[in-house]
Amino acid sequence: MNINSNQAWSVWFSTFLLIASVALFMDAGSASYSRGELGSGFLPKIVAASLFFLSAFNIVTAVRATSQRQWLPPGYAMALVVLLIGLLSIVAFRQLGMVSALLFQFFMLFSLFERKLSVKNLLISIAVTFAIHGFFVGALGVFEPAGRLIDLRWIAPW
């Protein structure tokens, strides 16, 4: 991996840490120190402040080291797609159950690894997942291992 893409990831990740450290600092609670007793936020605020300054230093270092303006790190699109699959899997898990979520994930990830992900494959994966889930619940009358039945109300509110 060339130096520029490493630095792009370094800038993005350090920026995330910068923002996170500020947010965590603000919500850390009291940093009081009285007769040896510490407020709950004492140590977290010290750590958050240290993280803030080191992240800022790292951003400056990374920006200076980057000779080309390649700010979108390579592979970010695929990372977002996989995250989306993960989030859809959680939705599938909540609504359909563990088995269906796992089936859905498997079809999607297999397609991704084969580099054959497309809208058609996505729709087929969803259809197959529903079909197998329907077989478990409808034909066998079996609850999913996670104990959830399909909740059709979010599909067909009537």
Partner: protein, 504 residues
């Protein structure tokens, strides 16, 4: 001798023996699979151990770490891709030897060297840890906080491509660990009003995210996909001659000693040991030009060293409560879940358990040794037929289930996914996931020791400067950080920065 009591305890527990055998098999298999490290497999199987008694639970994970290190050599020899970071140096002579039609000899050499090194390291653990514990049992909260602080600084400075990034990784791990309820006042901190965060981030989903999901995401985002076309190896005949064994013995002894010394130091791990041993033996050799062409010494050195790390890496964990590697950090979680206090008192309060664990380690070594010597070619043949396009989705599925199973909380799946993306960014940006995990595990103990120290002291934070042992540990940490910054990063082209310290 206490170790004999340990064997008696182990052999009187058939469940523990079963899990040792299972771990020897699974660890070898997992280690041999490129893309799945022993740390990732341990993270996925960790929820399983919640329902076991302490000895089977600890023995299972401990032996899995050992056999996973050995299993990595199978992938290194057959695929020219180390199954674990610890086997990276084994590719240098292992794969060339396999391509010459001597895969059987390479696998047997790796097996014997691994067994030798692991046994050597285990003896150091068994006979050395007790004496170190006699000293550390006298430490109080200021000393324990200073040790934790030293560990954060040393691990952050040593692991990774730069001191700044290593320290950032450590600080990030500490901060994430402190999310949840204050252990003393019970007040919520850094939860943003989210009920799900009141118990903090679970160890299992964080581990699954950083070691399992990150690996899957990383492989997916590499250009061209994960498949690497390698000509299959079919000839596994051949073994070691007496002359070759005679040449390997001194190599294995020296490399095991080196690996054990490295194992005692937190943060370095097998991935460093294998290269240091390889380099040192090549330097000492009368025929250094032959190294890298497929010689038995080139396999014996790294395999002895990387397995010799395993036992000694438990010494700082058991005597000081400081995990020196990712696997040791995971074991801290298991000890905690079973209500066992880590530290020097473990040798008195839980003596039978600890020596039972050591005995399990020795039995596990024997088991994976037998498996490797007689069945490694079978593993290799099967693994050559498995497609990565099937393996990685299955790995993702198992991780997904494990993340949920730990606390039966769907929120943990989201946490694991988030840390999967964070882990990918850390890997690409040159930050260290092992430094994050070790700090994540240590932070709560460090805070507890810090607050206890302040309650004990009339001088406030000056107590850490007025207690000589505490001050010494802090100065050692600072010295390591300054030296590391001054000397810069050692060149090591094959090893990825994030694999240092992973220990598997």
């Amino acid at each position: 001798m206490a170790i004999i009591d340990g064997f008696q305890y182990l052999f009187s527990n058939p469940e523990a023996l079963f899990y040792v055998a299972l771990a020897a098999f699974l660890g070898t298999l997992v280690g041999a699979l490129p893309g799945l490290t022993a740390a990732a497999a341990i993270a996925m199987l960790l929820p399983l151990t919640f329902y076991l008694d302490p000895l089977p639970a600890l023995a299972f994970l401990y032996v899995m770490g050992k056999s996973g290190r050995f299993g990595g050599s199978i992938a290194a020899i057959i695929f020219n891709t180390p199954g674990t970071a610890a086997a990276a140096a084994t590719t240098l002579d292992g794969h060339p030897m396999a391509k010459q039609g001597k895969a059987g000899k390479a696998l047997k050499t790796a097996t014997l060297a691994s067994v030798f090194g692991d046994t050597f390291g285990e003896m150091i653990l068994i006979f050395g840890a007790v004496y170190i514990a006699m000293v550390t049992i006298k430490f109080g909260p200021p000393e324990y906080f200073a040790i934790h602080a030293m560990a954060f600084i040393v691990i952050g400075s040593v692991i990774g491509s730069s001191v700044v990034k290593g320290l950032i990784s450590s600080l990030f791990g500490i901060l994430v660990s402190l999310v949840g309820l204050d252990p003393i006042s019970g007040m919520e901190r850094m939860t943003f009003g989210m009920f799900e965060l009141s118990s903090g981030f679970g160890l299992v989903p964080v581990l699954i995210g950083l070691f399992v999901f990150t690996e899957v995401f990383d492989r997916l985002t590499q250009a061209g996909g994960p498949s690497a076309v390698v000509k299959p190896i079919t000839d596994f005949s051949g073994g070691l001659s007496k002359a070759e064994i005679k040449r390997c013995v001194p190599v294995a002894i020296r490399s095991s000693a080196l690996g054990s010394a490295i194992g005692l130091l937190p943060g370095l791990g097998s991935s460093v040991a294998c290269f240091v041993a390889y380099g040192e033996e090549k330097r000492r050799s009368k025929t250094p030009e032959k190294w890298g062409t497929g010689i038995v010494e080139g396999i014996a050195a790294p395999e002895s060293a990387n397995n010799a790390v395993s036992g000694p890496s438990m010494v700082p964990l058991l005597t000081l409560g400081i995990p020196g590697s990712t696997i040791a950090a995971i074991l801290v979680g298991v000890f905690t879940i079973h209500g066992i206090q880590i530290g020097p008192s473990i040798f008195t309060v839980n003596r039978e358990l600890i020596f039972g664990l050591f005995a399990a380690g020795l039995v596990g070594i024997a088991m994976y040794g037998l498996l490797g010597y007689f069945a490694a070619p079978l593993f290799a043949r099967v693994l050559q037929k498995i497609r990565p396009e099937v393996t990685y989705p299955l790995i993702f599925l198992i991780g997904f289930m494990s993340a949920y199973t730990a606390r039966s909380n769907p929120f943990d799946i989201g946490v694991a996914l988030a840390f999967g993306v964070i882990g990918l960014a850390m890997r690409r940006a040159g930050f260290s996931a092992p430094a994050f995990v070790i700090s994540f595990v240590l932070a709560k103990g460090a805070e507890e020791a810090f607050r206890q120290s302040l309650l004990l002291s009339d001088q406030g934070a000056l107590i850490f400067l007025t207690r000589p042992i505490a001050l010494s540990f802090l100065l050692v940490g600072l010295a390591v950080m300054i030296l590391r910054s001054w000397r810069g990063r050692p060149s090591r082209s094959i090893l990825k920065d994030d694999e240092m310290g992973e220990d598997a």
